[in-house]
Symmetry: D2
Subunit: 261 residues, 4 copies
């Protein structure tokens, strides 16, 4: 069965900015979905901010293997309820690709537990993306490095937790560096952050970038069935303890009482 | 200069539950602060939920090196504003010890980015805490294992990110195991979670537990001055780039414009 | 194409010890290979210490996706040359499962960079293996915990580097705990250590243990082509630098000279 | 009590190469020791390859808190016995700073379990070292980045395990990047790799580099007493089990027998 990917796009600059509109007539989400659908192992559809429930109703998310997230101008307009919903699906095992300015999205900051801040400069400068682990599935098929001819500079310090793996580090014309491809795990969910993707340049039409996104969707798809109880804190009563047990001493909770939260 | 520790306590069961009151006449926070103050390298004071700003005004936090957090019944009553404030201080470099039922506190869940769920049983059973890394400063002075004679069982899976270090793992009479001592880093802040500490048993009077808390406060105190800009995302204008740079191509942002959040 | 697994066995107690021989008439390696071959996605063969080159000639290893390693009495008899060869294949991307007493094998100690020591007791006691991350592919299809009715106790501290992921932790009758399932990465190679497997008990006939091994082989198989240059330290001459560069200052090396090792 | 640092130097190019001799009349080890001794919290002495036991007899190492290691041309001449000795002290808790070409030293490769390979170019180009975690003790007192005006380029992929922390990443004139400051832990020992330090440039006279080395020695010094049993695999006999235990089933080992290695 194909990997079910949903490409989420803020879809604002895509419509309102003439430069972006010309580069991405179908929206950036459209371009990304096309890139993913070029691989027969992936079936990608799109969702946008302006749709009901931002295009992410419960049953759709339940049938999503990997979600990609691009947002920039309207992070604050994403409803907290939807952010919670997405987070819970990640914890259950849905993969998540966070792209470029998505570093400041509610969902990424929630999952990281850090400010996710960085430095930036919009000068159309050159970015060279270096592969740090050529044996990583996300780097498959790439050269030792590839160039993004025009990019927005994102510079360190990138305030995220130490990643599970550093896949890419970028070099910039202007003298900065950035950990441009990082993996994380939260519950059963695999997360990949990838920084190239500024909207006024045709980055999601780049062959290497498309390869990275396709690889990353495959990497992030967890074959294990959803861990649906990931947020539960079940009581294990004394008579259900794995080993025979006798109660001792005082108690706070009456028998059968739910735990405190 | 002594390490400035603030011991935060929810202070509800400490006052309202007769069992807890008898064990901890000065409150659990009082007992913990006494344990820490027994070491001349630490100066511990206390703060509680019922105080204005939960006892954590901005200037006090700014002068706190390590905060310890015990809450259980009233996680929901902790104001989001104070949680944000504490998180920012952790990112800046303040150490944080999260104790027992604090696993479900707003601050811990925020910093972890996961549900922080676990299994539990209140049977007064025996817990044996094993030292996983005897060379870790938090384990200094302990035997290979120590016993908490009566404990609340906390069982795996404990839904937190893979820790920086696994310091302790607990064995329970009833057959479960738990990663009872874990370290994490968020920004410049060091975090230690330690699970023993159920309120109806005299756990914070235990010699070994007090040793762990004292060690952990010392470990979590970051000697580096506060990283006060940790949440900022500064623009680096072209003329301030480390290397000489010429602007190329289209732009989204006008010169001097603030970044989007 | 099926995953090509090679099951390496020391094959000494399997032949010389009557208890082991009766439990494993085809050797422990035979039982493990049978378990893996029950899954159509895997094609497992065996190799043993007594074969030429320990059954691991260069071309066979080059065509192996995942190697499993069980040894106990004769770690010292494994030739260093073969250990180097296996290590290099792991760095290139071959998966490695290290089983039970293999913790003291030359290959595991080489890849870990630590003593890999632990505590032990042979009392036929009960081991309860807890799943720490139910969303991990290696845990797929398992209950929250499973019991190995008779086991050799392996106790902490297990002196390995902090793992990439803690998949299993074991509880023992006698009061100890052990991180019984850990993942690591070295170069492009994924490594899984799994502790159950003492030879005088029928552990590799256990349904859950066989499930773990099958899952782990699938997890460890890296789809990326071998990183054949993983041990090379190439010079990048000035005229091949990604950016135009002018030589400055004194040099140690003449042009074209190989680097020092 | 001051931190007892030993600065190990290969001391070959320091004597034989005119350029190096002029920059480092006291040897590179002499310059590094001077840098460390400028901080009253550190007492640094030196040791070199040509001394008996390479200047690292058992009792000296036993009284060393942190060892720094610089070698380039003669890695192969370092006796395996001394490498084992140093490794064991690291596991016991001695800190280790591995400098520049020390990436290919026997001791670093042994502790990493990987090839430790990288790319290189000797063009005297500029290196800009970026601080990735400004809150890390090793980065204390540094600007967001600092420049090494002439350096040997070390380029990714650097084949080491994923580090505990990425402290520095370097940008080079020629277009490459490198993780120039990484931390690791092996047993009780903290390890820091720092790449600047090519012998034909005056890098160890640089103010920022000296600050890094001084910070790193303080960070690597473990206050916990040596874990002297770190390589032992003790049997825990049945009558010494933490919980009462009855022997069941067959055994491989006779009572009191040593474990197999």
């Amino acid at each position: 069965m194909a990997i079910r990917a949903v490409v989420w796009g803020e879809n604002i600059h895509d419509r309102e900015n003439a430069v972006v509109r010309e580069i991405y007539p179908k929206g950036m989400h459209g371009a990304i979905a096309d890139a993913l659908n070029a691989d027969p192992a992936i079936e990608a559809t799109t969702a946008t901010l302006d749709q009901p429930e931002h295009g992410l109703p419960v049953d759709r998310l339940a049938n999503t293997d990997v979600l990609t997230w691009w947002g920039h101008r309207a992070h604050g307009e994403v409803k907290d309820e939807i952010v919670e919903r997405v987070a819970e699906r990640v914890w259950q095992g849905m993969g998540l690709l966070v792209l470029h300015s998505g570093h400041f999205s509610k969902i990424f900051r929630k999952l990281m537990g850090t400010p996710c801040a960085l430095k930036w400069r919009e000068a159309g400068e050159k970015e060279r993306v270096w592969v740090i682990n050529p044996g990583h599935p996300i780097a498959q098929g790439l050269d030792p490095s590839f160039v993004v001819p025009q990019t927005e500079m994102y510079g360190e310090p990138f305030v995220v937790p130490e990643p599970m793996e550093t896949v890419f580090i970028s070099w910039y014309d202007g003298g900065e560096v950035f950990r441009s491809g990082l993996t994380f795990q939260r519950g059963a969910g695999r997360i990949f952050y990838f920084s190239p993707g500024h909207e006024v340049y045709p980055i999601y039409h780049d062959r290497n970038v498309r390869q990275v996104l396709t690889n990353a969707v495959k990497w992030a798809a967890n074959p294990v069935p959803a861990w649906t109880t990931v947020t539960e804190a079940p009581n294990v009563p004394i008579d259900k303890a794995p080993e025979p047990l006798t109660e001792k001493g005082p108690k706070l909770h009456a028998a059968g009482e739910a735990g405190l939260r």
